[in-house]
Amino acid sequence: MTLQGSDAPLNDWVKPSPFQADRPLSALRQLIRKTLVIAEIEVRKLRHDPSDLLLRAVQPALWLLIFGQVFTRIRAIPTGNLRYLDFLAPGILAQSVLFVAIFSAMTIIWERDLGIIHKFLASPTPRVSLVLGKALSAGIRSLVQVAIVYLITSLLGVSLNLNPVALLGVLLIVLLGAACFSLFSLMVACLVKTRERFMGIGQLMTMPLFFASNAIYPIALMPAWLQILSHLNPLTYQVDALRGLMLVNGTSTYSFGLDALVLICAATVLTLICARLYPRVVL
């Protein structure tokens, strides 16, 4: 005798599940809830061991203190009415978010080598939640970078815009930027599957992503071919939005809406790709 569907009690433990995934609204609720659970793991880990966050503060500090100070002094880069250090500040925030996010999927390879991913995939968690939860985790780490960069830049005398709406905008853009690059990182991790290759590709990607953007100089200074590349680079739109939001005298080339839209579109496409690739990491 074979049981059909969910009829008949199979043993003492099987009860009708209170949850029904058939309805789109409850499916969406489940997706959001599970995404938050995956991100909660990261928050709990950071609470147990926040040392990594402090280490991450060193790099933006060095860029601002050394690179920023020198280039502000020589005035080699035309930055309009902005001091070079002011111009640089949003770029360095975007950069530190990029660095946090681009290596974030390293944990995926680690978890795959253990059996952690297997267990998540065998649980009733939507694949999109597993992927978005990781993206949100990178976003949470990046929010700490916001605090660090704001602290250092204000000490260096950058005139920061502390208007709450602008701050909220900064947080949103940082979350979106972190999502884009951590999803990109996740995609790479799903494809290469080994630590060594992942590190290699990560290193390879950060350079062009960072330099083919408006993070440390205006796009207008670039040769034409590089300008095209930097217009395809999501980091450019992240920096552009941050430049308008962070600084008192900051201006963006594009509207906040366009910058956010580009980042949302990039994150959506990457989420769909990753949700496809992610279950394959255990094969």
Partner: protein, 282 residues
């Protein structure tokens, strides 16, 4: 343990027990290589079923297909009435899974490891705490609940992993090599817990192992796999009785059916993973 044995004959004799797991022609190929070849088996509700075989025989591939991690190339399988391909989401709610390699998160506490899975399995908020406390008690981990898992011993980690997999009270619990890398004492603790799970809650257990002693003392029925196919399936006692020699062990049965065990063995990656797990748990 003798008590369980008498129980065994009862179960295999009773055909009216509902079938909770069923595969028909389940096949998985990796390019030219057939890892699992037309597997047909049925497991009754409340049974402890063991899939045995040398490394690389296809045991883990079977478990990965049944736990919806790996789509089969051909054939079908149903768990608690749900199809593993068409109804994967429902299947996932009915099963618990403890992978072979280490799957508890060392950077979280034992309690947190359970809490995350309680949430992922949609255990209602008001019963989460109770369920977690019960699971911790059942596994004897109450004292260690608030310690980071990386400070646990191998046996404690395994117990925590089983606790994670039974929080939602699954119909079928999959254990992939549950005692690999454990010392004999920790191993027997795991065996007792598995038996208790079945006695207390009627959980069906589907496990893979290459320890014959484990299969002999735990399983009601075993299937021996070799090169992707099941070559024999019966109760351990009947399998032993089928051999011509006097007082055979299940080891003898295994060697009789699979030939020289030295000739088989998993790939480089399997071996490295197994060794790493052993190292961590040991």
């Amino acid at each position: 343990m003798n008590e369980t044995k008498s129980d065994v004959s009862l179960i295999t004799a009773r055909d009216d027990r509902p079938i909770i797991l069923e595969t028909q022609g389940l096949t998985r190929k990796f390019h030219q290589f057939t890892a699992v070849d037309r597997l047909d088996l049925t497991v009754s509700s409340g049974e402890i079923f063991g899939l045995l075989g040398p490394n690389g025989a296809g045991k883990s591939t079977v478990i990965k297909m049944l736990t919806t991690l790996l789509p089969p190339t051909a054939g079908r399988a149903k768990i608690a009435g749900f199809d593993i391909r068409g109804q994967a989401a429902q299947v996932r709610r009915q099963i618990g899974y403890v992978p072979q390699s280490l799957s508890a998160d060392g950077t979280l506490t034992g309690y947190e490891n359970l809490l995350i899975f309680a949430k992922l399995y949609d255990i209602p908020h008001r019963v989460q705490r109770v369920r977690i406390r019960e699971a911790l008690e059942f596994m004897g981990l109450q004292e260690a609940a608030d310690r980071l898992v990386r400070t646990y011993s191998g046996g404690m980690i395994r117990r925590l992993e089983i606790a994670q997999a039974i929080l939602h009270q699954p119909a079928v619990l999959f254990l992939d090599e549950p005692t690999v890398g454990l010392d004999p004492l920790a191993r027997s603790v795991v065996w007792e817990l598995v038996q208790q799970l079945r006695t207390n809650y009627g959980t069906t257990v589907f496990l893979t192992t290459h320890f014959m002693e484990e299969a002999d003392s735990l399983c009601h029925r075993v299937a021996i796999m070799h090169q992707g196919s099941v070559i024999v399936m019966d109760t351990p006692d009947r399998l032993k009785a089928s051999l011509a020699q006097a007082n055979p062990t299940l080891d003898d049965v295994f060697i009789h059916y699979t030939g020289n065990p030295l000739e088989s063995g998993g790939t480089y990656r399997d071996t490295s993973r197994l060794r790493r797990t052993t190292q961590r748990l040991g």
